[in-house]
């Protein structure tokens, strides 16, 4: 980290308030599961304690006036790469299940704060798509100011990233794909056929590995004293997939590869938890629904690469109509900041209702991540992860006013805006101080070059 980066890091930290009791009053409350009503929500001990057209204000509660404003559950992004400190792709192997996003969480990534400012309270942080089987993943809560451990969505089922199509086969392409990296040694696979084989080979191994452990455990249970099998860090997460203890989040685009993966999973007896991107999911919605996989897609991205050329903005609505649980994700630190209006596009393209559309960025991603018992809707007993908007939220006119996670205010637009002059002054002070330091240290000029400027 350079001095410049340290300086910025010092500037951006905003300490959230402690967990208080709040009553958010007179807002339009869009609960997702309990309809939409004009009324109030009580937040206590980090949970939603009460809600309704009228509520009793607990003693000592701080009142947030929501008049004319809209309250929705915290937005959940089922596909993000923020806060991962550049540790996105271990591209040297086609099966990289031994690596884990948990090890590279950067709680000081400014993208976390920006996501908060866009109403995101939980994000599924995924490994990249360079490998047919990628690294282990996990959801984070956007608890800006906490350390890496404090960001982790406690109790959530961990995941693993799979990837199909152009990205995993790119490293095997003699042309080196987009970047033209012809000097890099080719890596198997180079085709969609090879991607299937890579996944099958891995699960072939994983099944045998699991059988060894099952046999060992059975012997132990019988009171025998066998020698345990050697622990394999690559196969361990795949064994967990076979046991249903780890969710598969599979990057995919084309209908053929989607169907392929569903059939591979059927053959090996595991489930695909979510299909990510899944831009041609609309072509095989029936098969996706039958398998029980969720679909996490873009609202309207298309045409950026060959496998995205048949993408349609009706994808989310069509899959929903065919019985698939659909979420809208960002895969992008910018898009992540307005998933609310991305959900609005599901109303425009395909006629989803307000609730169906809002569910695509709240309840449905919660279901896909297996955390809908905690988050994803406004219900008594659920985590107080809430976003207050000044206008109807499924629109680009709306802006986030306040964001609560676990009943704590993590973003407050008024404070953000009113705090800017002080931050600017602090920055100027640090710059001035550094200038003075440099003048003192190098009286005769010709100072040494600073290494590692920027990134």
């Amino acid at each position: 980290m350079t001095k410049a980066k340290l300086l910025w890091a010092a500037l951006i930290a905003i300490a959230p308030l402690g967990a208080e009791t709040f009553v958010i009053k007179n807002a339009t409350v869009m609960t997702v599961t309990r309809g939409t009503f004009k009324g109030s929500v009580v937040v206590k001990d980090g949970k939603i304690a009460d809600m309704g057209e009228t509520v009793a204000t607990p003693a000592g509660a701080t009142v947030i006036d929501g008049t004319g404003q809209y309250l929705i559950p915290g937005i959940i992004d089922c596909h993000s790469h923020i806060a991962a400190d550049g540790g996105i792709n271990e591209g040297s192997v086609s099966v990289s299940s031994m690596v884990d996003i948990r090890d590279v969480i950067n709680p000081e990534d400014i993208a976390i704060y920006r996501a908060l400012a866009g109403g995101v309270t939980t994000a599924n942080i995924l490994h990249g798509s360079a490998n047919a089987i990628g690294g282990c993943t996990l959801p984070l809560k956007m608890r800006w100011g906490k350390d890496a451990q404090g960001m982790i969505f406690e109790g959530a089922t961990p995941g693993i990233k799979f990837a199909l199509g152009e990205n995993p086969k790119r490293a095997g392409n003699p042309q080196g794909g987009r970047g033209g990296a012809a000097t890099v040694q080719a890596r198997y696979p180079a085709t969609r056929m090879g991607v299937e084989d890579t996944i099958r080979e891995a699960f072939n191994e994983a099944k045998a590995y699991k059988a060894d452990w099952d046999e060992y455990n059975a012997k132990v249970a019988r009171g025998e004293h066998p020698i345990p099998p050697r622990k394999d860090l690559k196969l361990e997460p795949l064994k967990e997939v076979l046991e249903g203890k780890r969710f598969v989040h599979a990057h995919c685009y084309r209908a053929d590869e989607i169907l392929m993966l569903l059939r591979v999973a059927d053959d090996y007896g595991f489930k695909i938890r979510t299909l990510q991107h899944v831009l041609e999911g609309y072509k095989v919605a029936k098969e996706i629904a039958a398998h029980g996989a969720g679909a996490s897609t873009f609202s309207d991205w298309w045409s950026y690469k060959a496998e995205a050329f048949d993408a349609i903005p009706y994808n989310a609505a069509l899959m929903t109509k065919k019985g698939v649980v659909v979420s809208l994700n960002s895969d992008d630190a910018e898009l992540m900041r307005h998933l609310n209006s991305e959900a609005g596009k599901a109303m425009k393209y395909g006629g989803m209702s307000e609730t169906e559309a809002l569910a695509m960025v709240t309840l449905n991603p919660a279901k896909q991540l297996g955390i809908d018992n905690r988050v994803g809707s406004i219900e008594v007993g659920k985590d107080a992860d809430l976003v207050l908007y000044d206008k109807f939220p499924l629109s680009d006119y709306a802006k986030v006013q306040k964001v609560l996670i676990d009943g704590t205010v993590y973003f407050d637009r008024d404070k953000e805006v009113s705090g800017r002059p002080a931050k600017q002054a602090e920055k100027q002070k640090l710059i001035d101080k550094e200038k003075q330091n440099q003048q003192r240290q190098q009286p005769r000029g010709g100072r040494a070059t600073q290494g590692g400027q920027g990134e």
Partner: protein, 449 residues
């Protein structure tokens, strides 16, 4: 039965051939250049808006569109696209932006526009009836060939203003040489958006950049050299122009310099990609020195340059409003509030999306700007009449006014709101089918059992 079919077919064809006049009846008309008019009709004839008023009676045979409760707006204009030149971003064979060569003013985007691009019908259904299409993306890998391996571009060629419908590029043309595209150098990387990600401001660079190779001082020197190079090119072009006018002995035609003459005569503006306030300031100084008309493309900050832009009447094309801050400590909403800042400073501006994929979201980026302080009417102008004025075609497009080209969208609500649907669309008076590859795929796969 068969005979009847043929007869009906003939009658419809005859009608269509003899009369493409349309009366949009009893709509609410939002001309943008004037106050909205409730319950009026718009007569479209010979590709033009023939009349607007409450009591227009349709002549016999005129196609009447009942538009009670619907709204009529001018079609929207996106001031920053590569439409027609780039089909699939990652597939080189389908991309014609970013030619090799540093100074390529003779290149014309217009002649590479593929009228059958799938992007045109996709953007049309959201009400985009015309676009500026650029020979280079000017920042996003643009220059030196988008796929790498050449010199960085300075002048990428001539941008064209086109309709989003037409049989040929000639048919689509509104202004074939609406602007010359110059990618102004910048200290912290090149191009309109600073190439490789966010760059710290010059104060921080100066402070922490050191003095060796790759330092701020070296970058500053390289920057000044590049500007000198551009000045040299313009000076040479001016010498050429004079030699040509004087019919100097031994004069030889040069296609690069020839293409520069309209620029030097101030007949064609130069669209200058410049992202930071200091770069904009330098671009303005350059324009003054060369006595040329400029339009700033994709600024990411205005700062002190705003006053200069206003004073010199230099318009600005704002890039994506939904963008991350340029620097790590930039305000999270700095891109969202930039349009309001431009408005408050009195700078004239229009919007561009600068990515084919997102052209259809042009109205929504305008909406974000409204959410963050831009008056609604100004946002609407920035996708209609403002760009028409900036690109010199406001006598033809950009508003609903008698005598103008009938580029119209008929909507069921506020066009900047996501949920609003375009119900009818007219380009040059022709009704456009609101279908595309995506609607066809939707219907096909909805019907799958």
């Amino acid at each position: 039965m068969k005979l009847l079919g043929i007869l009906v077919g003939c009658a419809v064809a005859a009608l269509a051939a003899s009369n493409d006049t349309v009366l949009i009846h009893n709509a609410d008309v939002y001309p943008v250049t004037g106050a909205p008019m409730k319950g009026v009709s718009v007569l479209v004839q010979d590709g033009k808006i023939a009349d607007i008023g409450p009591k227009i009676v349709a002549a016999k045979g005129v196609h009447v569109v009942e538009a009670k409760g619907l709204r009529v707006y001018p079609g929207m204009l996106d001031s920053g696209t590569e439409l027609g030149l780039s089909e699939i971003g990652a597939v080189r064979e389908t991309v014609d932006t970013g030619e090799l060569g540093e100074f390529m003013p003779q290149l014309r985007a217009l002649i590479a526009v593929n009228p059958e691009s799938e992007h045109f019908p996709v953007v049309r259904v959201n009400g985009i009836t015309s676009v500026m299409t650029f020979p280079s993306s000017g920042g996003r890998g643009g220059g030196g060939g988008r796929f790498g391996g050449g010199e960085q571009q300075m002048i990428s060629g001539q941008a064209a203003l086109i309709h989003t419908d037409g049989w040929t590029w000639e048919d689509m043309e509104i202004n074939r040489s609406a602007a010359m595209h110059l990618i102004f150098p910048s200290i912290a990387g090149r191009g309109g958006r600073g190439g490789g990600g966010p760059a710290p401001d010059s104060t921080v660079l100066e402070l922490f950049g050191g003095a060796g190779a790759g330092s701020y001082t070296a970058a500053r020197r390289a920057y000044e050299q590049q500007i000198a190079k551009i000045n040299d090119f313009f000076d040479d072009a001016r010498k050429y122009m004079k030699a040509k006018a004087a019919n100097a002995p031994g004069f030889q035609r040069d296609l690069k310099f020839e293409a520069m003459i309209p620029v030097l005569e101030r007949k064609m503006p130069v669209a200058v990609s410049a992202s930071r306030a200091s770069t904009i300031h330098d671009a303005i100084a350059f324009a003054d020195k060369q006595n040329i008309k400029i339009v700033i493309l994709q600024p990411r900050e205005l700062g002190k340059a705003a006053a200069e832009l206003k004073e010199k009447n230099i318009p600005v094309i704002l890039g994506r409003v939904l963008a991350l801050p340029e620097t790590e400590d930039g305000a999270y909403d700095e891109a969202f509030t930039l349009p309001a800042e431009a408005y408050k400073a009195g700078v004239k501006f229009a919007f561009g999306t600068f990515n084919n994929e997102f052209v259809r979201n042009l109205p929504y980026q305008a909406a974000t700007a409204v959410g963050f302080g831009l008056p609604y009417e100004e946002a609407l102008k920035a996708v209609t009449i403002n760009p028409a004025e900036i690109w010199g075609v406001s006598d033809r497009v950009g508003s609903v006014e008698k005598g103008k080209v009938a580029d119209l969208m008929v909507t069921d609500g506020d066009p900047l709101e996501i949920q609003t649907q375009v119900k009818y669309l007219y380009i040059k008076g022709k009704e456009i089918a609101l279908t595309n590859k995506q609607t066809r795929l939707y219907e096909k796969y909805m019907s799958r059992q």
